[in-house]
């Protein structure tokens, strides 16, 4: 049923997935910064190295999002858009470092050292 080309495609996909997964993990640095973007523009930048820092941020766009920053991480805790994928994404971590509310065009991401975004975009 499976032909040679199929096997090549499957192997190539697994290799690609593994590469994208492994490469960014190698540069784990100490300081983490939370970046909140609204409508593609940077809205807030919060230093997460201070673990005791706690703040609740409310964003009112087309919909309402509430982002909670605590224990050196962040999460969408409330959204009134129809699908609430952002809330389901849960609390961010250096590995799972991105969540977004697409209907509201709000995203939160954790960057290490603040430099790897440029490295990726470049």
């Amino acid at each position: 049923m499976l032909k040679r080309g199929d096997i090549i495609i499957i192997i190539a996909l697994i290799v690609c997935a593994a590469l994208i997964y492994i490469v960014p993990a190698s540069n784990d640095s100490v300081s983490h910064t939370l970046i909140i973007t609204v409508d593609g523009r940077e809205y807030r930048r919060i230093d997460l190295s201070d673990v005791s820092y706690t703040e609740t941020i409310e964003i009112n766009g087309k919909y309402k999002n509430i982002i909670e920053v605590k224990d050196g991480s962040a999460a969408f805790v409330y959204a009134d858009c129809p699908d609430c994928d952002c809330v389901k994404s849960g609390v961010l971590s250096p590995r799972h470092n991105f969540a977004a509310c697409l209907p509201n065009r709000v995203s939160i991401s954790i960057v290490s050292g603040g430099s790897d975004i440029d490295a990726l975009a470049g």
Partner: protein, 176 residues
């Protein structure tokens, strides 16, 4: 330029409708199966896309995919959802024709389907990165690629067993 016959218009319209119904069905399925992956879908509508790739020419396939994305974003979503689903749809159609043309006899429908599903996710991730201007979303790609391996296989397998019957019924022939 090839002339579009009334028969083609009718069958493409039926396929567009079928794709729309399947994408609605897909939305319901993803609500029924609680998988902790935001935006996860099996992509049942890709059954139609794969059928188009196997039996129709590239412009016709692109046309149906464009219409499906356009109409489905009118009843759920909006401009953002339209852009994301369109980029995935167009890229997956192009990729499937490309791999079919390059590997010819060496690839089966299952391989074409898996490659298409992977490129569908790739297209969507690229569009999300462009819309949100945040490259961090690329870390979501590995898991999506692995998922598309499974969903692509399922769609390809179902297609392998249903397309010949549909083709016999509608007197369609495999496109080159």
């Amino acid at each position: 330029m090839e002339r579009i016959k009334a028969y083609d218009i009718a069958i493409l319209a039926i396929l567009t409708t079928l794709a729309l119904v399947l994408s609605l069905f897909d939305n319901m399925l993803s609500l029924l199966i609680p998988i902790p992956l935001p935006g996860f879908k099996i992509g049942v509508a890709n059954l139609v896309t794969l059928f188009l790739v196997m039996y129709f020419s590239l412009p016709k396939a692109l046309c149906v995919v464009f219409l499906r994305c356009f109409i489905s974003s009118m009843y759920s979503g909006g401009v953002t959802v339209f852009l994301i689903s369109l980029s995935g749809g167009i890229l997956s159609v192009l990729a499937m024709y490309f791999i079919k043309y390059v590997l010819k006899e060496n690839v089966s429908q299952i391989g074409i389907s898996i490659f298409g599903a992977a490129c569908h996710n790739l297209g969507q991730v690229i569009m999300v990165i462009l819309l949100l201007m945040s490259p961090s979303y690329i870390f979501y790609l590995p898991i999506l690629l692995i998922v598309s391996l499974v969903t692509g296989f399922v769609i390809g397998f179902v297609g392998l067993h249903t397309y010949p019957r549909i083709a016999k019924f509608t007197k369609l022939k495999l496109s080159k």
